[in-house]
Amino acid sequence: MIRLNLVLLLVAVLSALGVVTAEHRARGLVVDFENQQQLAQQLDEEWRQLQTEQSTYAMLPRIESVAARRLRMQVPAGGQVQMVDGPVRTASHP
C-alpha cells in the first residue's frame, strides 16, 4: 500500500514538473510568436513606405525629365512610328 502511494506521489510530482516545463515552453513560443508578428507588422509598414518611395521615383514628370535630359530621348514624331500587327501586349503592371 505504501509503495503504491509512493509511486503515485512520484507520478504526481513528475506530472507537475511536466506541466511547469510545458507552460514555460508555451510562453517561450508565445513570446517568439509575438516578436514575429511585430516583425511582420514592421515589414508591412516598411513595404508601404518603400512603395510610396518607389512611386515618388517613378513619377511620370521625373521619368520624362530623366529620359529627355540624361538619356537624351525624345518622343518619336508620328511618321517615325511603325505599327506592327500581331499579338501586342499592352502596357500593364506585373
Binding site: 508601404r48 518622343v75 514624331a77 508620328g78
Partner: protein, 576 residues
C-alpha cells in the same frame, strides 16, 4: 500547589466564562475555515480575476486604413506610420537642458513647451502630433521622465497636387473628410480589434487569453484613374491655364467604351500632404461640382435631336440668313456670318442661327428628351460627394426664345463631367454610358439614347470640326482622326452675360473611327487675348489625346507621312 494551601490563589472562575471564551474562539476558527473553503472552492473565479488584473492587459490590435491605388495598382493614398510625442506629468523633474532640447527637436517655442509642462498640471500632455518615426526615436532617446510615443498613422499622397481633388483628404484621426476618402470611408477605414494577454515582468506577452474583437483591416480600393494620363492631363491643363491667364480650368478624360474616368484634373489645386495651407476654394473639384453654361459644345445634341426627327439629314440645307436671326427683342448672331449651310456645316462652323432654326422646328419635348436622356439635369453618379446635377427646365415652360438659345447651350447649366459623359452617345452607337471613379471589372450596358445610324452620322460630322474650315483644327492629333466640338460662352455675372468673361470648352473623341477616349476641357475666364474654345481649349485636348493614345498604344486610324528613321542615333552620353 493546590488551592486549599494558598487561599489567595484559590481564584474560582465561574465555569460559563471559560466556556464562553472557548466557544468564541472555536466560532472564530470555524468562520475562518468556512471562509477559506468558500474562497478556495466556490468563489475561486472572482479571486482569479483579481489576480489576472494584476498581470493581464487588454491590447489594442491596430487596423490600417486601406490603400487607394490607380487602375494599375500605383499607390495614390497610403497610410504611413507616425509617432505622437506625449508626456505623463509628475513622473519626475524635467531639467532645463532637456526642455531646451525638446523645444528645438519638436520645433515648439520654449514658452509653449513650459506652459504645457507647468508644475501644477497633471495627466498626459501631447507635445507634438504626427512626427516621422526616426525623429520621434531621437526625442525618445533624450530620456525625459514620463515621455512616451504613441503610434499613429497619417495619409500620404504620392501624387501630391496632381490628383488631390479626386482623392480628397482625411483628418488627423484618419477619417475621410473629402473626395473619395469621404465617399468610401466605410470601406477604407479599418476597425481596430482588441485582445487580452498576460504580460510578464519584462513586459513581454507570454499568453494570449482571448480575442475580444478581431481587427478588421481597411479595404484597398482601385480607382479608374490612370496615373500616367492624369499627369499628362494635369500638366497640359496647368500650362494652358497659365498661358491664357485663366481663372481656373478642368479636364476630364473618359474611357469611351467603359465610361471609366481615366483622368480628372482641376486647376487651381492644392497639396494634400500639407494640411496647414488648406484653402477650400482650391480644393473644389470643379469638373464635378461646378456648373457652367456650355455654349456651343451642346449643339451636337440639338442636331442629333433634329436628325432623330427624320426631317433632317447631314446634307439638308439651312438658310442662316447672313448670320442674324431676329427673335422678338433679341437677335441671334453667328460669329462667322454665312449664307446657306448644310446641317454638317452648321456643326462644323458652329452656326448659332442654323442650330436655333433646327431647334425651333422641333417640338420642345423632342429636344428635351435628347438632352435629358443624355444625362443633362441629372447627377452623373460618378461616386463623388457633392456632384452637381445641373439645370434642365421642364419643356412645358420653354418660350421660343429659350428653346432657341438652349439649342446652342445657353439657359442650361451643366458640369464638365456631365458634358463629357453625354458625348459617350456619339462614341458608342447611341448609348449613354454610366461613369465611375472606380475601376470596373466587367463591361457595362449603356442606356440607348440615339439610333445607331444617327450616332454614326454625328461622329462623321464632328470630325469636320477639327478639319480645315472647322472651328478646332488645333484639336488635330497626328495619325488619328479626332471628332469634337468647341464651345465659347459668355459667363453669367449677376444675371447678365458679361461681355469680357468667357468659359471656353472643347470636347473631343478619338480615334473617331472607333473611339477609345473622350476628353473634355474647360478653361474658365481666359484673359490673355484669346478666348475661343478652338484656340484655348482645343490645343489642350489635342495634347492630352496625343499623349494618351500613345500611352495606351492605340493604333492610328490615319496614314501618317513616313519620315525616314535615321540609321544612327547620337550616342547617349555616359552618366556621371
Amino acid at each position: 500547589m493546590s488551592p486549599d494551601r494558598n487561599p489567595h490563589l484559590s481564584l474560582k472562575l465561574p465555569v460559563w466564562r471559560t466556556r464562553f471564551v472557548l466557544v468564541c474562539l472555536l466560532t472564530g476558527f470555524g468562520a475562518m475555515g468556512v471562509r477559506a473553503m468558500y474562497l478556495q472552492g466556490m468563489d475561486h473565479e472572482g479571486l482569479q480575476a483579481e489576480g489576472a488584473k494584476r498581470y493581464a492587459r487588454v491590447l489594442e490590435m491596430p487596423a490600417n486604413r486601406g490603400m487607394i491605388t490607380d487602375r494599375h495598382g500605383e499607390p495614390l493614398a497610403v497610410s504611413t506610420p507616425v509617432d505622437t510625442v506625449a508626456v505623463t506629468l509628475g513622473r519626475g523633474e524635467i531639467s532645463a537642458d532637456q526642455r531646451a532640447e525638446l523645444a528645438t527637436m519638436l520645433g515648439l517655442p520654449r514658452k509653449d513647451l513650459d506652459g504645457k509642462l507647468a508644475p501644477g498640471r497633471r495627466g498626459v500632455v501631447f507635445l507634438k502630433r504626427q512626427m516621422p518615426p526616426e525623429q520621434a526615436q531621437r526625442v525618445l532617446a533624450l530620456d525625459v521622465p514620463g515621455l512616451f510615443l504613441q503610434r499613429e498613422h497619417r495619409r500620404y499622397y504620392p501624387a501630391g497636387d496632381v490628383l488631390s481633388h479626386v482623392l480628397g483628404m482625411t483628418d488627423v484621426e484618419e477619417r475621410g473628410t473629402e473626395g473619395i476618402e469621404r465617399e468610401l470611408d466605410d470601406r477604407l477605414a479599418g476597425r481596430p480589434g482588441s485582445r487580452r494577454v498576460i504580460k510578464d515582468l519584462k513586459g513581454r506577452v507570454v499568453e494570449d487569453l482571448e480575442h475580444v474583437r478581431a481587427p478588421q483591416q481597411g479595404q484597398d480600393i482601385a480607382l479608374s484613374i490612370d496615373l500616367k494620363l492624369q499627369y499628362l492631363a494635369y500638366r497640359e491643363l496647368r500650362q494652358a491655364v497659365a498661358t491664357h491667364k485663366a481663372k481656373a480650368g478642368s479636364v476630364v478624360v473618359l474611357d469611351a467604351q467603359s465610361g471609366e474616368i481615366l483622368a480628372l484634373a482641376n486647376v487651381p489645386t492644392y497639396n494634400p500632404n500639407n494640411r496647414s495651407r488648406y484653402d477650400p476654394g482650391r480644393a473644389r473639384n470643379r469638373a464635378l461640382v461646378d456648373l457652367f453654361e456650355p455654349g456651343s459644345t451642346l449643339k451636337p445634341f440639338t442636331i442629333a435631336a433634329a436628325l432623330e426627327s427624320g426631317r433632317y439629314t447631314p446634307d439638308t440645307v439651312i438658310a442662316t440668313a447672313g448670320g442674324a436671326l431676329p427673335m422678338g427683342r433679341h437677335v441671334i448672331r453667328d460669329v462667322h456670318a454665312a449664307g446657306d449651310l448644310t446641317v454638317a456645316q452648321v456643326l462644323q462652323k458652329s452656326s448659332n442661327v442654323g442650330t436655333a432654326r433646327m431647334a425651333l422646328s422641333l417640338p420642345p419635348r423632342d429636344l428635351w428628351a435628347v438632352l435629358s436622356s443624355s444625362g443633362f439635369g441629372a447627377v452623373p453618379n460618378a461616386g463623388f460627394p457633392g456632384e452637381a446635377g445641373g439645370r434642365l427646365r421642364d419643356p412645358k415652360t420653354w418660350k421660343p426664345i429659350e428653346q432657341a438659345t438652349m439649342s446652342y447651350g445657353h439657359g442650361i447649366s451643366v458640369s464638365l463631367m456631365q458634358l463629357a459623359r453625354a458625348y459617350s452617345i456619339f462614341c458608342t452607337d447611341g448609348e449613354l454610358l454610366p461613369v465611375t471613379l472606380l475601376k470596373r471589372a466587367e463591361a457595362v450596358e449603356g442606356t440607348p439614347v440615339l439610333q445607331p445610324k444617327t450616332a454614326r452620322a454625328m461622329r462623321d460630322m464632328l470630325q469636320l470640326v477639327t478639319q480645315p474650315g472647322g472651328t478646332a483644327p488645333k484639336a488635330q492629333v497626328a495619325g488619328y482622326r479626332v471628332a469634337g466640338k468647341t464651345g465659347t460662352a459668355h459667363k453669367l455675372v449677376n444675371g447678365a452675360y458679361a461681355p469680357d468673361k468667357y468659359a471656353s470648352s472643347f470636347v473631343g473623341l478619338a480615334p473617331a473611327s472607333a473611339p477609345r477616349l473622350i476628353v473634355a476641357v474647360l478653361i474658365d475666364e481666359p484673359s490673355a487675348g484669346q478666348h475661343y474654345g478652338g484656340q484655348v481649349a482645343a490645343p489642350v485636348a489635342s495634347a492630352v489625346l496625343s499623349g494618351a493614345l500613345r500611352v495606351l498604344s492605340v493604333p492610328p486610324d490615319l496614314p501618317v507621312p513616313r519620315t525616314p528613321i535615321p540609321e544612327v542615333l547620337d550616342p547617349v552620353g555616359e552618366e556621371v
